[in-house]
Point group: C2
Chain length 334, copies 2
């Protein structure tokens, strides 16, 4: 899956910024790859990009219209159909990470075909994928792993990529979920890959590279989330990381969606990831801890960062509050 | 997937017993559920079942013709087409575990539809499957786990089921691979399930049950096989075992298909499986060690069994050489 850039983001008529999460993610991390946004009447999401029409987006060079919406249920609202069909008529590729497929929009398939326009579904893997070979490969690969789902693994990875790019380091963000795929323009939605090919798909996503090249790989789930741990392990083995970052949300009281399952300790979680990762790279290490402290005030944030950095002797930060400069320094040292 | 029994086994014109592995497995473990076998001229496989034709198989009550072949490449030979089409014409369901789908046999789909005959593909999961809920559930569940792929996990599980059945214990073998599915008549080919649903599919396969009911669950792969460990972990979490049996082939020099990856020690393998399984059942235990000693003589077999049973204090046996009576006694004690 390779999405053509630049994008124009389409946020429909969504009621708030949360429902425009994907558009915000793209605007935050790839502002220079977006020519603007298209809204419908009633849209309350506020995104810091120029307001455009299909016509003006094309004038500004847009190649792909991306559905920037992450609504409950993942449906494509009928009120968006007209814009999607018009985009295809005007020759824009369309990309979506929603559950409902673009092909279910009336006439869209036929119009896309006629106009030689691609409809990209970020939730559907584009295989075939190989079985993992598990052979040692060159290059640096940093994987973000978590104590739970939705603790900041994608944002930590993107922050590290951004900081490395600003230092002219050879780096690629490797997306493994639909939002990351729409942000970066390619990747593998690992949770939708057939089980036998999970690790092979990730090996293909981050192949052998120059010794000083960095792949920053978006982790998924957690080895301690009993619904998804198999996916996290398949991803971990395919990634063959040289470095890992432990991601954690300090106020989480139980595993996401499972009120009766408590979170692992950070120590326990690191140990389990190290043991598993050493199967494919005996030299793997943890390089740091990335916290999502959005629910904490400054004092609480400072306190937990101090505690964890002392306990583990690792650089600990909230990438969104403090940046990742110290982490990059550490990564480049060895 | 629920295959109607009794079966008639079809072994085509295969050249040896290895290529008739599936038929041998069914004849070994479900002899009373097979009315006989159908061979073509040139077939050299020797299976201990009556030789039949389609007509005589139906007279004897056969409901499903099972392709008992596991040939290299997984193709359906053109020389078998006539028999398959005739089976469907005569109203037999057909079941296959081969890569090549039954629907690719000329006319077979149409004839099957016309005659209300089911074509079962044991490699293709029949979903949809839920996301795993990971809630504690009643009943005993024994999972066979391995140091590697192909070390006897299915045979150990079937031997335990058979011994329990002979004692009138309430027990079900739960198949997770195509051969096991063809033997038992149902199951989930876990390696072909979409990653996100691995654990949920297995939860559905072995749901909550009476406290004294046993599900004997066929394990797959190994937590130490870097190509497939994610599948093994997803299966393990979905199974939520109360008891595990460690399966091992003592002469294996490296992980199957990966000459550069060595086998884990039995101790290391047990520890990793216990840690992972405790996430869903803190009371899980290892109940024994099942060896595949087909490559060892009697003296070597006795020696390693003595060594391992002393080292781990667990019942150790080769289920195919010694049966599993001691193991059953131990399982029933607690």
């Amino acid at each position: 899956m390779h999405l053509k850039k630049p994008y124009v983001l389409f946020v429909g008529d969504v009621e708030d910024d949360l429902a425009a999460k994907v558009a915000h993610g793209i605007a935050d991390w790839r502002p220079n790859e977006c020519v603007g946004q298209i809204k419908l009447p009633g849209c309350e999401a506020i995104i810091d990009l120029p307001l455009l029409t299909i016509e003006s987006a094309i004038e500004k060079g847009a190649k792909t219209l991306v559905l920037g919406v992450a609504n409950r249920g993942g449906g494509i609202s009928q009120s968006w159909y007209e814009t999607l069909v018009k985009a295809a008529e005007y020759g824009l590729d369309i990309a979506s990470g929603l559950h409902q497929l673009l092909s279910t929009v009336p006439n869209l398939n036929a119009i896309a075909e006629k106009n030689n326009v691609a409809l990209h579904e970020a939730r559907i893997p584009v295989g075939p994928f190989p079985i993992a070979h598990a052979k040692s490969r060159s290059g640096r690969r940093l994987l973000t792993v978590g104590t739970d789902c939705s603790v900041g693994k994608m944002y930590a990875a993107l922050a590290i990529e951004k900081a490395m790019l600003s230092r002219k380091i050879s780096v690629d963000f490797r997306a493994t979920g639909q939002t990351g795929i729409l942000i970066s323009g390619n990747g593998v939605p690992i949770d939708a890959v057939v089980a036998d090919f999970m690790s092979g798909a990730i090996e293909e996503l981050c192949p052998a590279n120059d010794p000083d090249h960095w792949d920053i790989i978006e982790g998924q789930g957690s080895l301690f989330h009993p619904s998804f741990a198999g996916v996290s392990l398949g991803l971990l083995h395919g990634a063959q990381p040289t470095d890992m970052i432990l991601c954690h949300e300090p106020t989480r009281t139980h595993m996401r969606g499972l009120p009766e399952v408590s979170l692992p300790s950070i120590k326990h979680c690191m140990e389990a990831n190290l043991i598993a990762a050493k199967l494919v790279n005996p030299d793997v290490r943890f390089a740091g801890i990335a916290l999502n402290t959005v629910a904490l005030d400054d004092h609480e944030t400072s306190k937990i960062i101090k505690e964890l950095s002392q306990e583990f002797g690792l650089i600990t930060c909230d990438p969104m509050k403090h940046g990742v400069d110290d982490l990059i320094e550490f990564l480049l040292q060895g």
